[in-house]
Subunit: 381 residues, 2 copies
């Protein structure tokens, strides 16, 4: 088997469910009732009340959206609505490590849940000072508590106060100094009401990311715009098309000034899959060759060259993507587990990875499951 | 060279520019001033007036959007605004045949321009009776005049009166009886304000398409929703992402009842490229395997199986797609020229096709450039 027992599986895309007291334990006393806290909500007779987040009086109903690890596909439609409907590995780092051991996974980078994958829930905040404290509390939790449980195995990714670009840059530097390894950033800021990648608005963020050598991880869906074809289309259509969001993000950045102005910026396309990358790069190069002359795009560097300098992707079981890996670049591919979401194979992730990688030479497998992630996220062996 | 001189190149996606008198020559006298006609519009001093379409008093400025054949990429940004700024092959079928001969192309299926690729401009019509006559006039022009110039080489594709599903079915049967070979249909009706593929609304159209054995050709962009990331993003982003519209259309149909209820329906993904197909099918199958149980989707047929039964794609110079053709199905791939648009290699289309197909066995090349199209569009050799 090319996936050797001594290779450590590092996942660049997992998810954690925030424990109930994450914010109440960390916010100043005057904010404890306004910051996110778990409250009960009555349901039908004979049913235990649901547990929901209350943030500034607004109710956010899904504490564990898609946190289905341990359920069979036949049960996937029912979202957990109470902590006791999830397995503890969702919200307890010690239990998470046991689940990772069971799964044959060494390391994991975890995205937020209630704050949404790029922390965009805090854009809803009426009190911006509170919102900033909430972002910092999540980051402190991840670094000081979640990842401190097993340094080197749980890899800290942080979120940003997206309404204030200077505060974003400051938060990148603050968290880098205490061990953060990656930044979650929206795949496209525009649907969130924020300036696009074609403005200079985000330059302080990109500069701070370069200086601290942390990748910007663009998880699909973080723009808030999910692929949707029709009001009555089944959700399977959206699930099938999620990667088109990552395609949008890649094309958007490749034809923007961002990568030309920030030569050391690293971009991760989190949960975006990889099998579509060769098509998109060929199409982007063809577009650039024929259509650059009359457009405000860089006239000297081909998009595929930019992609290879700046981007990396990840996959769970993208067999086609693995087969055409040399069209993508073996150095640009990382592996992900997606625990505890429905795309994950937990507790058989390692077995599935071995199967998907069965025809790949050992040295390439080692790069994909471990070495690329160590290099891109600065994780010493 | 695998592309042998005796193989006839058939293009499943070209475009024609409507000659100025297409509608005025065909509409009843009382409608001649309301139906589409060319009028002049003054421009800056020293410039010849622009020629624009006037339909019911509304002005449609681009007579030849992207009709750039014969120009170099450096000139692509300037849209032709007068007939004398286009080469005659755009609007004159005899000149088109000469241009095809020059290009080494034997046959071509042409989409409309002013009516938009699926005739959706006639949804703007205030007078529905006039709009129906306009649709019929375009179809009569294509069959009786454009394609009659060279039967077997110019292949008639027709448009539909999309606001009236029974009139659509009637128009399919009327035009089939006089030689039509394909139907242009929106990739997604929803952005046009029409019912989705997840309703039974379009069943009469699908039944008529099955009975007449004509493919529904879903050209990208026909939903009216172009991929767009940001107000100031260069158009190169949209061009690069066009195929995501075809990905949306494929996923939408694969998880709809349409193909289960219409087992003989054929779907063409016009100008959508092919290199993304293997990724999408693997993702659709994975979604179906894990998420079908709680959703209103067919529980027995895998999406990839449906795709192989019903769909075909086309490419211009999708080298990666050609390389992975066995993941798509060699029988499902057709070639396109895209004359007179900027994606076309005219007058070197045959030379480019030979280059792209250089590593493909002769029999597969013959299928891709000719035999598949003859079979799918019922074109006797």
């Amino acid at each position: 088997m090319p996936l050797q027992p001594w290779m450590k599986l590092l996942s660049t895309d997992d998810h954690l469910i925030e424990p109930p007291r994450l914010w109440t334990d960390r916010l100043p006393a005057k904010y404890r009732d306004l910051g996110p806290r778990i409250v009960e909500q009555a349901r039908g007779e004979g049913q235990a009340p649901a547990e929901v987040w209350n943030y500034e009086g607004r109710i956010y109903p899904y504490i564990g959206l898609n946190a289905v690890a341990g359920k069979s596909p036949e049960e996937f439609g029912l979202e957990p609505t109470r902590y006791d409907e999830m397995i503890p590995g969702c919200y307890d780092p010690k239990a998470r490590l046991r689940d990772m051991d069971l799964d044959g996974v060494w390391g994991a980078l975890c995205f937020p849940s209630f704050p949404r994958f790029a922390g965009t829930v805090f854009l809803d905040g009426q009190d911006r000072r509170l919102a900033l404290l909430c972002v910092q509390a999540w980051n402190d939790f991840v670094i000081d508590e979640w990842c401190a449980t097993a340094p080197g195995r749980l890899i800290p990714l942080v979120i940003l106060p997206l309404w204030d670009v200077d505060a974003c840059a400051a938060e990148i530097r603050r968290t880098a100094a205490k061990g953060a390894k990656a930044i979650s950033f929206p795949e496209n800021p525009v649907p969130l009401g924020l300036p696009s990648f074609h403005t200079d608005h985000w330059d302080p963020v990109f500069t701070a990311a370069e200086e601290t050598d942390m990748p910007l991880c663009l998880h699909f869906g973080t723009s808030g715009a999910a692929p949707k074809t029709a009001p009555e289309a089944p959700f399977a259509v959206t699930i099938t098309l999620f990667a088109t969001n990552s395609m949008y993000a890649a094309a958007d950045l490749l034809f923007s000034p961002v990568l030309h102005n920030h030569p050391r910026l690293k971009i991760g396309l989190s949960e975006g899959g990889i099998g579509w990358i060769p098509y998109l790069l060929e199409r982007a190069d063809g577009t650039w060759e024929r259509h650059r002359f009359y457009q405000n795009v860089n006239q000297t560097v081909r998009p595929s060259e930019l992609f290879h300098q700046h981007f990396h992707g990840c996959f769970i079981d993208d067999r086609f993507g693995v087969e055409v890996r040399h069209h993508i670049g073996v150095d640009k591919i990382t592996w992900e587990c997606d625990y505890p979401h429905s795309d994950s194979y937990w507790p058989k992730s390692r077995a599935y990875a071995a199967e998907v990688l069965a025809d790949v030479p050992d040295d390439e497998v080692h790069k994909i499951v471990e070495l690329n992630t160590r290099r891109l996220y600065n994780l010493p062996a």
